[in-house]
């Protein structure tokens, strides 16, 4: 006779509170970004160096993007790499609280130009990200899985180490501890942070989650085998050349940067192509978020490439702002939001399955976050992106853009909170 199968093992997966604390915090930082934009108005977008924009950028990259990506990685490493993070509860506490506090203080320090606050923020952020990186390194070192995804996650981790190191050096320079060339350091910090940490991680995770959740064919192995590694090596090659003023170095640097851009264009093109080959015809919200994300990524690459040819564009102070909006909000915030609509319902289902006695009725994925509310949030997100881009041409649009950003982040938070409440309701039964 068959012994009954026990409920799903929760040994492998961290408690649901581990990723959810990160997911539920993230939209609040987007809301904070919306408030800063609303209060500052068109002045925030005068140049990439305004205190308002520096604060905004870090609220998005650390507060929203890194927050969700770290929460998701703590959850997904056991699934993708067959290797859980050590001491997940403790690590979650030691990462989440200093990340929240450090991001808030960094944004305030940049906004109010307070070096004391900046230094405290750097200490907290270096601690939070350091703990995460060490725990992640342990998990990956113990994993016997070697595929394109775990490789890309390793590269993304190294990129994060460099981003944090460069960020620390920048804060030290702002506070007067070091005297380093700001422009060059910022260039490196941005390159390792955006195409490096954010770009490589999205790429690596996409190899698994796009076929898994969007039911597309797999990415071709001949692409996944070299793409992440090439982008990483090109960033490595570009870095020293960006610091050298000689002509050959500048040519080499442009060549390497062009290679990185081509790498992301290939990734975006392949993802859009795979989406056309989906096995299911029903369009879902995650697929639409990813489409917005990939089109924004292509637009960012096209804008960057045009600016390399047409000198007037690169000199325009609005150019880096548009590029940042396309990459950070259009690409990264879109794909991360799209993934949340798959990961969060899946985790609620998975953990309820493990907790409830056999035979209990568990809500299905579609009941956990309704398609309708998710779709509304996606539409608000799309409107926000268009308004943000529009505000570059018509600065007065910055106000509706800020309101739309506030609205879409509240909607996202409410959708995630509804899933959490449903979990808590069933878990108490």
């Amino acid at each position: 006779m068959n012994a009954p199968i026990s409920s799903l093992s929760l040994e492998q997966a961290p408690p649901i509170s581990v990723p959810f604390r990160f997911f539920l915090s993230a939209p609040l930082f987007l809301l904070l970004a919306a408030l800063i934009l609303l209060v500052s108005g068109p002045q925030a977008l005068m140049s990439r160096w305004t205190p308002e924009l520096l604060a905004l950028t870090h609220l998005v990259t650390l507060g929203f993007l890194s927050m969700t990506m770290i929460g998701a990685l703590m959850q997904m490493l056991p699934v993708l790499a067959d290797s859980p993070m050590p001491l997940p509860r403790l690590v979650a506490w030691m990462v989440h609280i200093p990340l929240v506090a450090g991001t808030a203080m960094l944004a305030s320090g940049l906004f109010f130009s307070q070096t004391g606050m900046l230094n405290a923020a750097i200490f907290l952020l270096a601690f939070a990200l350091g703990v995460f990186l060490i725990a992640g390194a342990f998990s990956l070192a113990a994993s016997r899985v070697r595929h394109a995804t775990t490789r890309a996650i390793r590269f993304a981790g190294i990129a994060l180490v460099l981003t944090v190191g460069l960020g620390t050096a920048l804060a030290g320079t702002l506070s007067g501890y070091f005297h380093l060339p700001m422009q060059e350091l910022v260039g490196l910090h941005v390159a390792w942070g955006l195409p490096g940490w954010v770009g490589l991680l999205v790429m690596g995770v996409a190899y698994q989650v796009v076929p898994m959740f969007q039911l597309t064919p797999a990415y071709p192995a001949r692409l996944t085998r070299w793409l992440g590694g090439s982008v990483f090596l090109l960033l490595c090659a570009w870095s020293p050349m960006s610091l050298t003023p000689s002509l050959p170095a500048s040519w080499g640097g442009s060549l390497a940067a062009g290679g990185v851009a081509i790498g992301f264009a290939v990734f975006a093109g392949a993802t859009l192509y795979l989406q056309t080959k989906r096995r299911r015809r029903i369009v879902d919200v995650t697929e639409q978020f990813w489409r917005i994300g990939m089109l924004s990524l292509l637009a960012a690459v096209a804008l960057w490439a045009t600016a390399q040819q047409v000198t007037g564009i690169a000199a325009d102070p609005r150019y880096p702002i548009v590029l940042g909006m396309l990459f950070m909000f259009g690409f990264a915030v879109s794909v991360v939001s799209g993934m949340l609509y798959k990961i969060v319902p899946f985790l609620v289902w998975f953990h309820l399955q493990g907790r409830l006695p056999k035979g209990s009725t568990i809500p299905n994925m579609k009941q956990i976050i309704s398609d309708r509310t998710a779709r509304r949030q996606m539409q608000a997100h799309m409107a926000t992106l268009l308004l943000l881009l529009g505000s570059i041409a018509w600065p007065v649009l910055v106000y509706p853009a800020a309101l739309a950003l506030g609205f879409t982040s509240c909607m996202l938070w409410l959708n995630l909170f509804a899933a959490t409440r449903l979990y808590l309701k069933f878990a108490r039964l």
Binding site: N2, I5, P78
Partner: protein, 72 residues
């Protein structure tokens, strides 16, 4: 003679593959084997199988799909 049941979960959205294999195992006649056809290695399943006293063997194919043979 031991029989073998094949369960193809390719093209299903999570968590369906896991739900399907667990319910197939519940009704698997003693001595029979279940062959699960999947497009990736289902790591979370392995932990559950070990805990429940199943044995399994995974075969990877050149086209990227994997087959997991599960028996007790």
């Amino acid at each position: 003679m031991a029989g073998e049941i094949t369960l193809d979960v390719r093209g299903l959205e999570p968590p369906e593959p896991l739900v399907k294999v667990l319910s197939a195992l519940e009704t698997l006649p003693p001595g029979d084997r279940l062959r699960m056809v999947h497009n990736r290695e289902p790591f979370p399943l392995y932990g559950i199988l070990q805990e429940d006293g199943y044995q399994y063997r995974t075969e990877a194919f050149a086209d990227g799909h994997v087959e997991i043979i599960i028996w007790r």
